[in-house]
Symmetry: C2
Subunit: 260 residues, 2 copies
Amino acid sequence: LTDEASERASRPLRAQGPLYRIDLAYVGTTFDGWQSQASGNAVQDHLEKALSTMLRHPVRALGASRTDAGVHAEMQVASFATEVAFDAERWIKSLNGLLPRAIGVKALAPADAGFHPILSARGKTYVYKIWRGLSRDPFLAPLAWGVHKAIDVDSMRSAAAAFVGTHDFTSFCAADSSAKTRTRTVSAVEVAESGPLVTITVSGGGFLKQMVRTMAGALVEAGAGRLGADDIARMLAAKDRRVAPATAPACGLTLLDISY
Amino acid sequence: LTDEASERASRPLRAQGPLYRIDLAYVGTTFDGWQSQASGNAVQDHLEKALSTMLRHPVRALGASRTDAGVHAEMQVASFATEVAFDAERWIKSLNGLLPRAIGVKALAPADAGFHPILSARGKTYVYKIWRGLSRDPFLAPLAWGVHKAIDVDSMRSAAAAFVGTHDFTSFCAADSSAKTRTRTVSAVEVAESGPLVTITVSGGGFLKQMVRTMAGALVEAGAGRLGADDIARMLAAKDRRVAPATAPACGLTLLDISY
């Protein structure tokens, strides 16, 4: 169990039958996150509603990552089970017709009986996007955090190195995290820039609630010259959320990939 | 005069004073094109309203390209004049606050007195995006034409070569084009693919109404194996809109760059 969302792993699927893997992408701006909400406006709600309409029986989908409200996904993986005969072309077409336009089915295929979106995942990659300055790019703005202060990418890179490795990330996750252990392994943090856009790409085995956003918040402070790698090492060692900077907003985060 | 929009070139600007160049980007989906409309929902309407509010006098903006309803722009260039003292930072911030979120100001700077968005342009580049197959990418779908038939990129490339050079494009522009001459020079047509996405990038000195969209419509037919470079050469020679395939939808077209 490598992920905050792993608590859900033991909840039973309602439907019986062969298992399927569905790969989704979504622009998260208007949704209440991945996990089913009373509002019915979580991505899981929309997916389960579309699957249930198409298959004509109640369907429960299990997602690999419990993205927060406003977070985007280039790749979210979910599983569901049904006895209905598989028809890839018809199912993909039908689901893309039933889902809101900001959610898309990229692929849908039979999965091994042992496939589990959370437990089978080997690692995940997130990208956090920052848009510097006063100009606005309407294609990128909804997917990035607009930061008006000057931030330096080399300073961010130096500080980012302190996150790589296996650490207790208590200082860099939501204070209400329900994870049993807060030790996680970050395999890489890459900071890149292209004009006003800065991207922080973070890969690892699993992530705590708001972990990438809290890391991004600290790296923007590093870019502004207000802290360095030593400060981040000190904050990790403190194991206290209150010592690290504010969590960066959800709009800048995208779940980029999940490896199996 | 190299562009369909050139008829507007002689219309006077209402305001006097130094001239400014503004670089804009917009996601065109919800707008009634560039040129001012009775609806007040053209990009020009939104820009002139924002400029007039900010500068506290009526402002007329002259745009480089009269993009159709639904067409996007990574780079549209406009000019306006005002006696108000220039303040780049305040103006960009203020305009991005006043404009709809799907329109963004990328840059704003004083222009030479002789600057003219249409007459000073040396060339333009458009990209037409096609999304193949049943899967949906919600980040790209609003910017692409979804095509469900199999299309082959090599066949598109072969056919595209017939467009390069100086031709009478009567067969590949809107039948109601008001341009005095329909001879235009296309300097390059590049077809590329990345997974389900196919892009047609077209550069030239200037374009007729719906010219890139009609070229894209023909190239998709070429990709489906229904016509080749010889057919396109024959269609050009016919100088009759009725001999060429249907115009591709506006949603797939983006004005990518204007060179000065």
